[in-house]
Amino acid sequence: MSEKKKSDPREGSLRIIRRGLSLSPAIVEGWRRTVLLALLGTAGSSLVPIVVQRSVDSGLGDTQGGVDSGRIVLVVVLAAVLLGVSGVASWAAKVRIFTGTERGLTQLRVRAFRHVHDLSMLTQNTQRRGSLVSRVTSDIDQISLFLQSTGMILVLSAGQMLVATVVMAFLSWQLTLVVIGVFIPLALSLKIFAERMSIAYDRVRQTVADLLTTIAEPVVGASVVRSYAIERRTQQRIDDAIQTNYRSNVKAQTIVSVTFASAILVGGVANAAALGVGVWLGVVGDLSMGTVIAFIFLITLFVGPAQMATQVITEAQNAVASWRRVIELLETPADVVDPGPGVAALPTGDLGARFSAVRFAYPEGPTVLADLDVTIEPRQRVAVVGETGSGKTTFAKLLTRLMDPVEGTVSLGRDDQWADIAQVSFADLRRHVVMVPQEGFLFDSSLAENLRYGRRSATDAELVAAIGDLGLVDWFEALPRGLETRVGQRGESLSAGERQLVALVRSALADPAFLVLDEATSAVDPQTELRATRALEVLLDGRTSVTIAHRLSTAENADRVLVFDAGRLVEDGSHADLVDAGGVYQRLHASWVAQASLGGGVTPAGTLAP
């Protein structure tokens, strides 16, 4: 999408800036007054040349003694007063700009953040997560930096140059044309400079990313590097990355230096031209001596902005690119939409689920689930089995409305009270149906805060009670600081198994009628495994549950097993029905048994199948 837009960058950029500003109204609030103050503020820089011109023409440049000192003093005092006024205006303008942009961008940041959570799991896969984070962090920072520094310099420089040009034109239009004529080639070449600079900086950014990755090798992979004795190879890779990064930096620095300095040369030529033409005009025409000198002062007001121009252009391009990314995120429609309250309600108490002619496919992708018609009765305990890619995870995501089917409907309810879940408000749905993901994800906070993700109003006593209900008291009591135990980033202070326990307590607190579980595949410490199994047993008791099963025991103990294969529901029945049916399940089961009996030793395989 962005590729197409790049074909007409100018129109695109304007649209982006306009749209960006409309999304952050605080930036442009009272902009007329801000611009007025800013212009007044920059006007101060043109005062000095005017004073010089007036003073020289009032006799300062005349050694024959005709100094009109009274007039010069008046001019100086007037200029001092105006300088003060413009300083105050500049202060006021800056405060307004900083406050306005920060307020506006914070609105945008929070809005973008919320939108990310509103997008379905479809758009929000693992690969994109890192880039989503940069939408609400570095991209917004980039825009802020631009609006407050380069963007402001751009506007102020433009204002300064405008005021200077007006002053110059007022003093002498002929000399003004000369000066502008000298600066035109520079202005034209800026675009080329800016392009080369942006390419050079892209290259620098790339080499920095490579450098960071390579430098991480001896740190993150310390034991691999040491145990394979590949220190030399690793050092060579790092040295290469450092050298590449160094070269690209020097190259970028060369372009920046030359561009920056070229404005000085142009300034010198402008001075020379103003001197030559000014003196000639003074002799043949009516140009005053003060005017010639004032022009040399005024030229400095062009040199400064010209030096910064390439940098400003590069940063402006970056900022517009960032703005574009944030806006594109906000313009991505949320494909799973909250219908809001009042459309359809779920009955209180037990719930079943019904899939009617459901088909699911990723956009422009193959169908991953087709022709699904199945009803799950209230309080039924269902195990879903199948190989990777069979469609069992998609089934769970449709059931919890993390995604919507392409065709057909998913309903929840019982008896004759059924509601299409696409019509049920998120708040209602999440109260009744909770998904327990494979990895217990914890937030960097206390245990209590993490449990309250299940029920925000729960008191400490209720939290402890829930832990007790699931039979986890011994585990809980061994924690160093009880409910106040810090779980660390992503819960890493706890083991994987313990994180799973927290996730179970959290779900118990949410107290849903319907639970959807994704069973963990990775091995955890046996004691914790035992605790989790017991806790799960309590949790599932008296609720409808659908478990994506990876273990033999889960399928064996379910009321009903749904077997998926290549996007279709191929078998449906109890373990006993299916285990000898000669289908997919029998095959899966055989491999499970083989593996269990291999390690089982004493436990005869026979006890696995009742």
């Binding site: 413009s86 900083f98 920060e102 400095t300 909770v434 993901p437 046996p526 004691q527």
Partner: protein
């Protein structure tokens, strides 16, 4: 970084500045020639900046005034003036390009040099040292901290050039007019002092904003990583409120930075203009009394206009010094670390499986809290030994000790009868392979990740990929063995990464293979297939001695011998059947899965 900047408020400022200057001295010493060159360019820039004003003064007195007074163009002088303006600006441009470019090169070289030093040190420091330091800190030592030390070298040449420029400026002003020079002597130092005050006041505020920026980023990271939990428990509103409050704190901090900027910037900009006004005011009297020429007044006024900005460079240097010192201390902390981990010179003759013995092995990460104690172990060449035990029983530590990633505090590890620390590093790496718990892949091709650039044929690579059941997914990759895996192999699943990590060990035909829970992310069925293939390899001629840390009973059952660790000691050893028979603790441990299942069965 930010926290230490805050702490700096407490330390003595003069001491800090003194130490900062010492670091500057070290940096200059390292890049003597280039730094000198950058100073030459910078002085050229400073001198030509003053010369520019002098040209204007000269042109006023020798071109403009005579021409206007005589009503006739003073052609000779005019040509000189034009040429002077152009040639001075050419010199000035050369000065700027040289200063910026050479100054930049000095900075980048200093940074590259310290990055090499720090990473070389990382490669020499032992694994135990790495384990004792947070990854994030070590990465920032090699990146942000190194840059923090030397970033002062960006404005440094300019600042030194400016000092030269001020000397020349004051000299030319003195030559022009003594009284007007006094204005300069007031305005320039004032400009400089104000700028230092500004930077120092801004420092803590900017550090504060930077740290809040980090907070906003971690809330976003965490919230998006836990999106599934947020969504399935309907916590979007609370998460948005949490993010909004972090963003608003950042906003207020940024506004606080902005408010200080809004006060200082207009003042710093107005100061030179005030100087010019003073010069003009005083100039009237000086000209009237005949003490000075109009050209001198114009020259001095112009000098104020063009000298003002560069003077601020000195402030930038002083503002950078605290960061320089903090970065220096951190990097020195790594470079000066005395930890040593020398390797011996002994070899391990032969090519068959290596025998492993430990004698009274003891190890503690924290003094007084032994992880392993008094461990005697005998593993015959070519056998398979499983190590089991609950979390914290010392299994991983044992794996690190026998592969000599760690050295024992007590007792010793013997490989074919030779103490591990006596063995040559390359010899050890060739004989012993460890597959660690946490998989690590390089940002490189599949092939390089397996071979680690050793001379190994593709045939051998495919062979081992088949053994670890990785051949099918590698074949399916767009460029097969040549596929770039990206940063730490993030494009692969956990199980796929573990398989490549296993392949890396197996392809070297190790004589002792240690698997530290290296198959946990694999599907149990796949794990079984791999381990059985491995066992077959082992039974063949010259297969390795295997030590495997495991949870799954199926894995344990493949072992000739099982060692049960509890609290850092050997609780029991024998075959799986023997241990089951005589040890209740062992049964509890390995039967936990079965127990869970049986309980469910009985309900």
């Amino acid at each position: 970084m930010t926290t230490s900047l805050d702490n700096l408020g407490g330390t003595d400022t003069t001491d800090l500045t003194r130490r900062g200057f010492r670091v500057l001295g070290i940096g200059i010493g390292r890049q003597k020639a280039l730094f000198t060159l950058s100073i030459v360019f910078s002085v050229l820039f400073g001198a030509t900046t003053v010369a520019d004003a002098w040209v204007l003064g000269w042109a006023t007195d020798h071109v403009i005034r005579p021409s206007f007074e005589d009503g006739d163009v003073a052609t000779g002088a005019l040509v000189t003036g034009v040429l002077l303006f152009i040639s001075v600006s050419i010199l000035r441009m050369i000065g700027v390009v040289g200063r910026r470019l050479v100054g930049g090169i000095v900075f980048y070289r200093l940074v590259a040099g310290d990055r090499r030093r720090v990473t070389r040190k990382y490669l020499r420091l032992p694994v135990s040292w790495h384990q004792a330091h947070p990854t994030g800190q070590l990465l920032s030592n090699a990146n942000a901290d190194v840059e923090a030390i030397w970033s002062v070298f960006m404005p440094l040449p300019m600042a030194i050039g400016v000092i030269a420029m001020l000397v020349v400026a004051v000299a030319t002003m003195l030559a022009a007019d003594l009284v007007l020079t006094l204005v300069g002597l007031v305005v320039f130092p004032l400009l400089f002092v104000l700028n230092v005050v500004y930077q120092r006041r801004q420092g803590p505020r900017m550090a504060q904003a930077q740290s809040l920026r980090g907070d906003v980023s971690s809330v976003a990271h965490e919230s998006f990583d836990g999106a599934l939990v947020v969504k399935s428990l309907g916590r979007e509103d609370e998460e948005t409120a949490r993010f909004a409050s972090a963003s608003e704190e950042l906003r207020d901090a940024n506004i606080a930075v902005g408010r200080v900027r809004a006060v200082f910037e207009p003042v710093l900009e107005a100061l030179p203009s005030i100087g010019v006004l003073l010069v003009v005011l005083l100039g009237i009297g000086r000209i009237e009394s005949g003490a000075t020429d109009p050209g001198d007044v114009v020259q001095i006024a112009y000098l104020f206009t063009i000298v003002a900005m560069p003077v601020r460079a000195i402030g930038w240097v002083l503002a950078e010094l605290p960061r320089t010192v903090v970065g220096w201390d951190r990097v020195r902390g790594v470079l000066d670390d005395p930890t040593r981990f020398p390797y011996g010179t002994a070899d391990l003759p032969g090519s068959g499986p290596v025998g492993l013995r430990t004698e009274g092995l003891g190890f503690a990460y924290e003094p007084g809290e032994p992880v392993l104690a008094d461990l005697d172990l005998e593993i015959t060449p070519g056998s398979v030994t499983a190590v089991v035990g609950s979390t914290g029983s010392g299994k991983s530590t044992l794996a690190s000790l026998v592969t000599r990633l760690l050295d024992a505090d007590e007792g010793q590890v013997l490989l074919d009868g030779r103490p591990a620390p006596d063995i040559d590093h390359d010899e050890l790496a060739a004989a012993v392979a460890l597959v660690p718990q946490a998989t690590f892949l390089f940002d490189d091709t599949v092939r390089s990740n397996v071979t680690l650039d050793a001379e190994i044929s593709d045939e051998a690579v495919w062979d081992v990929l088949r053994t670890v059941q990785a051949d099918r997914f590698v074949e399916a990759l767009p460029q097969g063995l040549d596929t770039q895996l990206g940063e730490r192999g993030t494009s692969l699943s956990g199980g796929q990464r573990q398989r490549l990590s296993l392949a890396r060990a197996l392809v070297r035909d190790p004589r002792l293979l240690v698997l530290d829970d290296a198959t946990s992310a694999l599907d149990p069925a796949v794990e079984q297939r791999i381990l059985r293939a491995l066992a077959e390899r082992s039974q063949g001629e010259g297969g390795p001695t295997v030590l495997v840390v495991a949870y799954r009973k199926a894995t344990i059952a493949l072992a000739d011998q099982v060692v049960h660790l509890a609290d850092g000691r050997i609780a029991d050893r024998g075959t799986h059947a023997e241990l089951r028979e005589r040890s209740a603790a062992y049964r509890d441990l390995v039967d936990a899965y079965d127990q869970a299942r049986e309980e469910v069965d009985h309900e």
